[in-house]
């Protein structure tokens, strides 16, 4: 019997048992659908985080006190502005070093009040981070030196406090102190759950007075190019370690962040895919089950085919092809639905989803494999049926 013949026969059998075929396929369809959608969501999340990190700016090194690592407890900062000056000397180019002091504070205009992240920084911040202005100006060196009460608002803070009114030159009250708005940032979205559009930037000196502590939370250094990052990073850390022998400092680069987070998210995606894969296997067990039932139900048919001259391998092929066809068609439907579902999620929800070819290829390959693997046992049983026993079974 030719392969084309066997294929036609299998299709006919699936068509004749339409309802059962569909129900059997359902397991595979759901499994494949789950693989494609979950991998798309995992990949989408990874892409989104990578975009966020890249959106910070380029070639940034973040220097923070303590040991940075997953699960490490946050360390109380001992750094202050003299350390910033020290790092400036180590780096050589003072304009490529900036500072951050953070604190959550209420910000009020008239009766409107929002809770914002107060960030004290300096005039060098825009040299290192990608933080375009929508209107107004960045803070100046003089603003920092003379501890001026001026502020640059994140896009969301500005919108909530002022609505359609132009905030430039107007007053806002931050933690009970009045500030003049000198600029508004463009919308930039959030990074690591930090909503950067909800920040209000003030001179670092002003912020320290407002908070009442001379500490800073971190120093950011901009390397002049990708090649310089690593040497600059170790130079800064070594200098700080020498300055404070009994303390630890960490400097992380965007590349390192990308690497760590990428690994974590890839693992997560892998776990999701594996869970979905298990449901695909369960679908395969279903196929095996149904095929066994089908062999039993069609005992007479098998006996008849054998009486008419079907060899053991003809019958085996017929049932194996049926099983593989079931899972393959199920796989294709699952892929179509999965891709459709991922696109729908992408369009209708904030969850990012990115369809990947490897997940589709994998899901398809696994469905075919599941058909072969779980189809063999029932097919062999069918092939070995004794024709007399089969014909006598009424």
């Amino acid at each position: 019997m030719r392969t084309a013949e066997a294929l036609r026969m299998a299709l006919e059998a699936l068509r004749v048992n339409r309802l059962r075929s569909t129900l059997t396929m359902l397991g595979v369809i759901i499994g494949v659908l789950a693989v494609v959608i979950l991998v798309a969501i995992g990949t989408g999340a990874k892409n989104a985080v990578e975009k966020e990190i890249a959106g910070l700016g380029s070639n940034i090194i973040l220097v923070v006190p303590g040991q940075v690592g997953l699960g490490a407890a946050p360390t109380q900062s001992r750094l202050d502005l003299t350390d910033v000056a020290f790092v400036r000397r180590v780096v050589g180019d003072p304009s490529k070093v900036t500072v951050a002091v953070n604190s959550g504070e209420p910000v009020r205009v008239g009766r409107n009040e929002v809770f914002a992240t107060l960030t004290g920084t300096d005039e060098n911040m825009p040299n290192i981070f990608d933080r375009p202005l929508r209107r107004g100006r960045y803070m100046s060196a003089t603003d920092v030196e003379t501890r001026r009460r001026v502020t640059v608002l994140g896009a969301e803070v500005a919108a909530k406090l002022f609505g359609d009114v132009d905030p430039i030159g107007r007053q806002v009250t931050i933690a009970g102190v009045r500030f003049r708005v000198i600029g508004i940032y463009e919308t930039v979205g959030s990074t690591f759950g930090v909503a950067r559009d909800q920040e209000v930037h003030v001179p670092v000196t002003t912020a320290q007075r407002l908070i009442g502590l001379p500490r800073i939370n971190g120093i950011a250094v901009g390397a002049s190019g990708p090649d310089e990052i690593e040497s600059l990073q170790s130079r800064v850390v070594a200098a700080l370690d020498a300055r404070y022998p009994d303390e630890k400092f960490s400097a992380v680069t965007q590349t390192q962040l990308l690497g760590t987070i990428g690994t974590v998210l890839s693992m997560l995606t892998g776990v999701l895919a594996a869970i979905a894969g298990i449901s695909l296997l369960v679908g395969g067990v279903g196929v095996s089950n149904i095929m066994l039932v089908s062999v039993r139900e069609r005992t007479k048919e098998i006996g008849l085919r054998k009486a008419l001259g079907a060899r053991q391998r003809d019958v085996l092929w017929q049932f194996l092809i049926e099983a593989v066809l079931l899972t393959t068609i199920g796989g294709l439907i699952g892929i179509l639905l999965g891709v459709g579902g991922a696109l729908l999620i992408q369009a209708l929800s904030p969850v990012p989803a990115a369809i990947t070819w490897w997940s589709i290829a994998l899901a398809f390959g696994v469905s075919v494999g599941v058909g072969v693997f779980f189809g063999v046992a029932p097919a062999r049983r069918a092939g070995r049926l004794d024709p007399v026993v089969a014909l006598r079974s009424e």
Partner: protein
């Protein structure tokens, strides 16, 4: 393969000391207890006997669906014990057509495809298969029913489809196990007419099992089976001369 050493054409079937026992939960049931039998090419034979006497068992052995427990069976001169399952399947496909009491058609498959099924396993191409199946259906008077499914047909029509399927591969023998058993008299008669014509016009040997005396009477030879043994082997007076002398096939 072993062939008959003699010069006469090989018999359609030749059984020597054929036995078949079943193991039924440790108890041995002897369905056939030593059958000697020779059926020539082109014969028209009825096997009769009470229920449980071993008729179906004998048919299954002759049809190469089963293997004897002991004894020798030659089909067309070939000793079936020398053939493996694959070759037995091919032998069935090439030389034997089956008709069953309960028709055994694929209920939801059109008549044409039911009839063409033996040719599928012979590797015949689709268009030739359809042409031959159509010719076979026309020969049994169902040329207008090609696309009908057995579930839409009467019992008589279904058995005619089964006969078309039995003859589509130009077999040397048609084995029919109680072919009229599920039919009324009129349809039974029609089926017998078809088998008779098949035998007379194409020289195909027909071996049929039956309970009914008038059905058995239309065959040219009656073999009476009882308790797994041949009790009586008789020829009708109206039958043409025995074909042992080689005037057939």
């Amino acid at each position: 393969m072993t062939t008959e050493p003699s010069a006469t054409p090989p018999a359609a079937f030749e059984a020597i000391g054929l036995t078949r026992s079943y193991d039924l939960e440790g108890v041995s049931v002897d369905a056939l207890r030593g059958v000697d039998l020779r059926i020539e090419q082109g014969e028209f034979v009825a096997i009769v006997g009470p229920s449980g006497s071993g008729k179906s068992t004998l048919m299954h052995l002759l049809g190469c669906l089963d293997r004897p427990t002991s004894g020798v069976l030659r089909v067309g001169g070939v000793d079936v014990s020398t053939l493996d399952d694959t070759h037995l399947a091919e032998l069935r496909n090439q030389t034997i057509g089956f008709v069953f009491q309960s028709f055994h058609l694929l209920a939801r498959t059109p008549a044409l495809d039911n009839v063409a099924l033996p040719l599928v396993y012979r590797g015949v191409g689709r268009s030739e298969r359809r042409a031959r199946a159509e010719a076979a259906l026309t020969a049994v008077g169902l040329g207008h029913r090609l696309g009908h499914r057995p579930s839409q047909m009467s019992g008589g029509e279904q058995q005619r489809v089964a006969i078309a399927r039995a003859l589509v591969g130009d077999p040397q023998v048609v084995l029919a196990d109680e072919p009229t058993g599920n039919l009324d008299t009129r349809n039974g008669e029609e089926v017998m007419n078809l088998l008779e014509h098949l035998n007379a016009d194409s020289g195909v040997a027909v071996v049929l099992v039956t309970h009914e005396a008038d059905v058995a009477g239309r065959a040219h030879r009656q073999i009476h089976v009882r308790d797994g043994l041949i009790e009586l082997d008789s020829r009708s007076r109206t039958a043409p001369a025995a074909t042992t002398e080689g005037d057939a096939g």
